[in-house]
């Protein structure tokens, strides 16, 4: 089983929520990242760790469910006793797709409270809609950026303890607000556009309920 990433062993009874109070006083999220690409797992792990998250990476939906405990008895706790605060999963994976994993999680009375974010290299409106409708918090276009992770983290840590059904409209700002480096990043657009790269014309945009939850599509140059 190729579960990588830093999983901290703690002498805590199971089912105890682990919201780590690191010395700096910041709360640490535990993210379960699911991706069949070994390169992407390494990148997402680094993205999350540099954003002060604990990370567990697995290579498939099946592994993810195993980690979370299919029987659901232990709740959203990994078999090593750490509560999972967020699941980030690739969409296109052999075997169980990210969408199928999402459905299984949202269909589980114990796991459904865990926010799920879908990542995909393909900007397909129908796919995005499907995922959001199934309860995904967010749909991120790959390659995932540091600003995406920071924004996600803020959203999740603010959301903890609140009604999980609440959806916050967290439009990504036009400029990359979180860019602390000097790298020349192309401006991220928060425009909810019918992307020209998508083959399907977007009459589905008329659904205003979808609009507020529509993923922040980045306009690639």
């Amino acid at each position: 089983m190729s579960i990588t990433g830093q999983v901290l062993r703690r002498n805590l009874p199971e089912n105890v929520e682990v919201f780590d109070d690191s010395p700096s006083g910041s709360l640490e999220l535990h993210v379960l990242a699911v991706d069949d690409s070994v390169v992407d797992r390494m990148v997402i792990e680094r993205l999350l760790k540099i954003s002060s998250c604990k990370v567990t990476t697995v290579e498939s939906g099946t592994r993810a469910l195993q980690y979370l405990g299919l029987d659901g008895e232990k709740g959203p706790v990994g078999f090593d006793g750490l509560k999972v605060n967020l699941i980030m999963t690739d969409y296109s994976m052999p075997g169980m797709t990210g969408y199928e994993l999402l459905k299984k999680i949202k269909g589980s009375s114990v796991l459904r409270e865990i926010p799920v974010v879908i990542m995909s290299s393909e900007n397909v409106l129908a796919r995005i809609d499907r995922c959001l409708e199934e309860g995904a918090e967010e749909f991120l276009l790959k390659p995932v950026k540091l600003s995406d992770v920071r924004r996600l983290k803020d959203f999740i840590t603010r959301g903890e303890g609140k009604d999980s059904g609440e959806r916050i409209n967290h439009k990504r700002k036009r400029e990359d607000d979180y860019a602390s480096s000097s790298s020349p990043s192309s401006p991220s657009s928060s425009v909810l556009s019918a992307s020209s790269s998508s083959s399907s014309a977007s009459s589905s945009l008329s659904s205003s309920a979808r609009l507020s939850k529509r993923a922040k599509l980045r306009n690639k140059d």
């Binding site: 069949d36 690409s37 070994v38 390169v39 992407d40 390494m42 990148v43 680094r46 993205l47 540099i50 296109s92 052999p94 290299s121 790959k142 390659p143 950026k145 540091l146 480096s181 000097s182 790298s183 020349p184 990043s185 192309s186």
Partner: protein, 151 residues
């Protein structure tokens, strides 16, 4: 420390040229942002992993396209993976060929696929050489007691 300064300038210019010629894109910058004192070798590590993974994918692609009856879905799956990983490290030209490659897969165009396989092998070896040169330069700078210029 003349030589260090020279090397550093060489490195900056070299990286700039790689961007200019489209070998690398913004994503490579993102990777460099993920490198710090606690993970000083991150870029080398992830790029090395990319090399390993790419060799595997290229082998799989060659095998799949040698079959009497080509399974285009399988070919496409490999290309999709290659497209993803090259995108994740910023190997822009490789990624572009993969996009064309996938179109040929969809059309079940054998000739197109074979052509793309050659192209993607070519682009991959180009970017691999470029990156290895880049890492060599970095090593030289460090060995000469210098620090890597901020990106």
């Amino acid at each position: 420390m003349d030589s260090v300064v020279q090397l550093q300038k060489q490195l900056v210019d070299y990286i700039a040229s790689l961007f200019h010629e489209g070998f690398l894109d913004e994503q490579f910058n993102q990777l460099q942002q993920l490198q710090d004192e606690s993970n000083p070798d991150f870029v080398v590590e992830v790029v090395s992993l990319f090399f390993e993974d790419s060799e595997r994918l290229l082998n799989e692609l060659a095998k799949a396209l040698e079959q009497k009856t080509i399974d285009f879905r399988k070919v496409d799956a490999h290309v999709h993976q290659f497209k993803g990983s090259s995108s994740s490290i910023g190997a822009h030209r490789v990624q572009k060929v993969c996009i064309a490659f996938r179109n040929y897969c969809e059309e079940q165009n054998v000739e197109g696929c074979l052509k793309c396989l050659q192209q993607v092998k070519h682009e991959y070896s180009l970017v691999r050489n470029k990156l290895e040169t880049l890492f060599q330069l970095e090593k030289q700078i460090i060995a000469a007691g210098g620090s890597l210029p901020a990106t």
